[in-house]
Symmetry: C2
Amino acid sequence: MGIAERKTRHKEELRSSILTAAWDMVLSEGWQSLSIRKIADAIEYSIPVIYNHFENKEAILLEFSKEGYQLLACKLEQARATVPTPEEQLKVMADAYWDFSFEHKEYYQLMFGLGIPACEMVNQHEEIKKMTHIMISTIQQALEVSANPGADFFLKFHTYWSILHGLVSIQMIDKGRQPDHKGKLVLQDAMAGFCKSLV
Amino acid sequence: MGIAERKTRHKEELRSSILTAAWDMVLSEGWQSLSIRKIADAIEYSIPVIYNHFENKEAILLEFSKEGYQLLACKLEQARATVPTPEEQLKVMADAYWDFSFEHKEYYQLMFGLGIPACEMVNQHEEIKKMTHIMISTIQQALEVSANPGADFFLKFHTYWSILHGLVSIQMIDKGRQPDHKGKLVLQDAMAGFCKSLV
DNA sequence: GGATTTAAGTTAACACCGTTAACAAACATA
DNA sequence: TATGTTTGTTAACGGTGTTAACTTAAATCC
């Protein structure tokens, strides 16, 4: 009785073909021009089929948003694993955050672009909690090995993330698409300053 | 011969009524639901009239974006005028930036929301240059009175703005609409750290 | 194996959207 | 008063997200 299996497999294939078709369109034409109709056209099915897999267009965006947070969390963890001390980890994670933003600009826009619906429900993501947890725990470790075990590490995390996000965003707004070669130096400088303020 | 005057006056009234109608809609329903048709309905004219005053919808958004930068520049200058030293000025300007962002969230979303067309042409704005000039000149003065006259003040400005923008954005993404009461403390803490790094 | 129920997929429509060409009416000028 | 210009309208084009109603295909049951 492999019938049910075949059906669910087909359904999953259809779902993922929707996502890959949508992602291709985003990469080639940006978020603005992503449309249900074009997706339906690309996967060679009629429009309402898409609504069997996603409640609405926003749900598709939300799916990509989750993917983005997952990928970012992955990159951060990979970076952290390359160096032993929390302070060094904060630095390489900052580099990884920067690289992610410009290598996956489309994800970044969706995840952090104000006004795009996906950021409204960011607090319900499990994915974003996983990502922030990586930052938070590293900060916590950094504070524990320093002389400040009682410091509010959540506030420190907030600052850490904010500096990162601010540098990346302003770079994107200011310089457009291409990251300035000085940008990463500024980032590393700012990170060094932050780490100094931790101890 | 006040005929021409009456005409241009009427035209300006129409233009500003378009903008105020649009702004009312943005305040009550957000950027997403702003539409040319609703504006036309609100000002009780037919749709094409709007295209006599603005080339397209994007031009209207750009207009608001300019307004936003002008208002922000104004707030920054007002704040700067309240204290004498550049270091103090950087602090009160940071507070003003924070306050502006949450008091005029709609402006902020339009000005700095990634993916919204207005941020694409941000470099052509005269208004944004005026705003950044206020920050840059204050940083420059701060560096001149310190022992670092040769430091690259443009990079320092970049860091200053980035920290500000990052703290505000993460606050908006993280906490949603209402600014956390701890947020401003984090901001002031980060600003203190930045100022320390200047000297 | 044939009838019946269930799932999958399609057509066609609704209600919007930005934009523009073609036209009508009001008006200032000659 | 006739002419030309400005001002505003109607109506359409092509696009969007979404959904109700229908058809067709498949799986189950007797």
